[in-house]
Amino acid sequence: MSDLDQFRRETRAWLEANCPPEMRKPVTRDEDVFWGGRNTKFASEAQKVWFERMRDRGWTVPDWPKQYGGGGLDPAEAKVLREEMAKIGARPPLSSFGIWMLGPALLKYGTDAQKAEHLPKITAGLIRWCQGYSEPNAGSDLASLQTRAESDGDDFVITGQKIWTSYANYADWIFCLVRTDPAAKKHDGISFILFDMTSKGVSTKPILLISGKSPFCETFFDGVRVPKSHVVGTINRGWDVAKYLLQHERAMISGLGDRSVGRPLGQIAADSVGTDGQGRLDDAMLRSQIASFEVDEAALSCAAERAVDLAKAGQGHPAFSSAMKYYGTELNKRRYEILMSAGGADALEWESERSREGIRPRAWLRTKANSIEGGTSEVMLGIVAKRILDLPGA
């Protein structure tokens, strides 16, 4: 038996013994997701137990080095763990922008001191991070951001405004892009800096979205004092860090609405449209939409698997995450259009207990942001055209 088979057997047994039954059910409510942080609360005892057991094994972030509280797994082992978790429907024990976005950037660009300070608090779910990227006048053209960081001795003094900051009102720390050299070309005067959201001068204001929820905030900085040692990478070279982080963000977003969890679309549709004598959905057009959706969904998950394997084999293209982000988010929007069509009038209820306060229409509306956040679909296609296809022009 190969080492990997052995690892799979042990992992399967450990998960079987340690993942509480409640943590194997699909996530249906916001509080089913555990984000960690200073002010966090567990929604249930099972959620707490599951988180703590996984944390103690280093499996909140299985592929990070052990010294930072990760699991030290190689890519093949991490894949096995994902597969075994998926097999029993195990929920992620911890969700975190620290894991998906900041961590990879710190591992590449951070100093030893920065890594030692921040990574263990991410793996242990102690600090919840938010991302200060977009500004009111810097959306797709992110590099035109204007939030100023002025040098004052050993500190920077930060003034400006961010927008679409996910969960800024719950976050403990922020990783933030600021302009440290206003005279330089737009990509060359940006720094990537970390600071505590309880610092004097930071305030947040939730933005009410079309879903009726407020996952994003406006975030204001009024003379926030931050030590220069909190800059990640070189001062004025923050764009490199920002771009690297975006690759990870895009990979994360392309995996949203992950597929293998929850009831199959065909069954969900059968609840509302019914079936004919042969068990087929009583809406032939909807049935064919679902079938072609599922063809594309299955193919995308092959591509996601292949992207990991290509990267491992050193054959991946760094811009490929943009391709996956584009397709994954467009597909997720399609999925929710199908779900809304399948649900018919039942899927329109916004407040009733029956509809769990409109969980489906709110989720449907939320997906519309998928192809905007983290780089719009149009920006993604532009990146593919220029960086992968090498097409001419600006």
């Binding site: 069954q267 995308l300 092959c302 591509a303 391709a323 296609l381 296809l389 097409l391 600006a394």
Partner: protein, 379 residues
Amino acid sequence: MPLVLTEEQSMLRDSARGLISDKAPIAHLRQLRDGKDADGFSRALWKTFAEMGFAGLLVPEAFGGSGLGCVEAGVVMEEIGRTLMPSPFLSTAVVGASALSRGGSEEQKSAYLPKIADGSLLTALAIDEGAKHRPLHTALQAVRAGNGFKLSGAKAFVVDGHVADLLIVAARSAGNAGDRNGLTLFLVDPKAKGVAIERTVMVDAHNAARITFDNVEVNADGVLGEVDGGAALLEGVLNIGRGAVASEMVGLSEEVFGRTVTYLKERKQFGKLIGEFQALQHRAAQLYIDIEITRAAVLKALQALDNDVDKAGAAVAVAKARAGTTATLAVQEGVQMHGGMGMTDQFDIGFFMKRARVAQELFGDSNFHAEQLAEGKGY
């Protein structure tokens, strides 16, 4: 298993690409078409294919082949897709070899497999009867007669039907059209009494035939696999063929895409390279993404076939459905972006469009396979 080619598979690809691009560029197909070649392919080239071990790729080593798998067959098919080389590789080396090695008795295997591997025997699978691929609706009758059967009925879209030395015929020996039970596969000599073969020149200038069977006598030893229980064997063989055609379509799509992107970087209008226009850049990027996703799905299906043919159905359905829609998009965008030049026969791009249409129909189109997936999932 990682979803990337192994080193050996990459080497196989390189050697197939070397041979095919050298000996059978599009000009080769054009020449066969314009010369109204009686065979529709080059026998000399097929001999070279056999000498390089490609004809016996899927033939077990015990019968003179290399005993490789569907991933390797897919690698060769992809290269065939790049130049649209007409060749019995699909009909014989993939479908014929699979049918015989999976369903054949020891006698049948010894009689035919070594000849497939050395390039001296060509086979053709006769399956479709109507305009669309509906294997379970097979109605060609097999009636017991003495020690064997008599076959009556008609087949269409039989790839390489007019050059085959051996026909593999799906027939109904019991039950009714649509039933899973009651299907039997037969090995039939194309020269047998009652067999009439009409070559049907297709839009893509590749081989196909209509074949009628009028009380054709087949001995009991002409049965391939089980009497009445041939559905599972047939499905397995068809799935291997589908995986191969999907690979051909990936190669075809990528070649068309490559030529199109090159054109976008050369052609000037309004004082600019047309590749500078965002409208075209985004469409090119979408097509690239589509092809990459399809490539992953096809490799997954080929690996699934090598793992267990009987469990690969869903993966193959996804692959063939995706390959069909992707190739259709690729050739349409290819012609459109080449503008008027794309409409000319002199330009190669039209050959790809024609072949994509045929490959889409072959062994079930995208709708057929999406339907298979829906049925399998029970909705």
